[in-house]
Symmetry: C2
Subunit: 198 residues, 2 copies
Amino acid sequence: MPKIVDHDERRLELVDATWRIIARLGIEGATMREIALEAGFANGALKPYFPTKDTLLTFAFRHVFNRTNERIREVTAGKAGITALRAFCVEVLPLDSERVNEARIVVPFWQKAINDPEKAAIHRESMDQWRGAIQGYLTEARRQGDVNAAVDDSVVSGHLLNMLLGAQIAAALAPGIETDLGLGDQLEAFLTLLQAGS
Amino acid sequence: MPKIVDHDERRLELVDATWRIIARLGIEGATMREIALEAGFANGALKPYFPTKDTLLTFAFRHVFNRTNERIREVTAGKAGITALRAFCVEVLPLDSERVNEARIVVPFWQKAINDPEKAAIHRESMDQWRGAIQGYLTEARRQGDVNAAVDDSVVSGHLLNMLLGAQIAAALAPGIETDLGLGDQLEAFLTLLQAGS
């Protein structure tokens, strides 16, 4: 019987290897050769999975997004309003080394997306999904009487989403992976402002 | 008499050419050859100004930062508190095509900075300066009675700065340079929250 190869699993192994290489050498140093070596693949064996580094980077971005969404589903289960919004943001913010490494995948993806409409569209779809989620939590928060401010929730959602994006930049460019950037405090301060006057 | 060459001016010509090329071809397509061609320099004539594309990108980043600061000085002159804070943020936000093009320089610089400690330090120094400016405006706004919220101004400054960074990503990845991203409205909503309950 032929050996059964789980192609999805192998793709994820390659994504993990890509992360380690990008964290160590940067996106430009992350050649297909280096990634193959790190993942224990023969040189050229990546091609059936990812014909180009570009396809690998797009897959890695989608994987970061999907993985974050899985974590979000777990931490927001049974929560609503401000409590759910806090849990959502804590999961998106790069507050531990795993998520700082994710930021280091996301920033190169953004850079590529500037001149690649397909990548830019993937980014925008992902962000539309998150903006919608944030807005849903705000609607619940209003219903629960926690937010009464005279602001448009879709606008506030866009503001908060941009802050979450900017936090990825701050984390990716911090002097060390464990640097405390005060992002958790920034989130709390924003939630305080949101609920002020209620 | 020998022809007097203004080297600073020629450097700025090269930065302008770099912008046009990056906007057209992306950072990877912006070879020293393409930039020289665009600026009307002979191939190789760039070397005395910028030995590498990397030095050119760093110069361009500093130039964007300095130019933004010049605009900030003009628009905040004679203003204080919330009024000055609004003027500052409007100038940093990518609200017109010139500043969207600046965002397209800044995002590739950030990507390079992830694995280049010197570039990352330049970014952090610039951001420290802006965080300090924002905090100064908030202090004035409290003194004027416009802000009374029970939040730490240095934390709120960090939050707002991250939103301004995230807005660069949103603008650089928007489908068109004239897309309305609602960034002005997001700023106003944040200023409303900041003053709520006062």
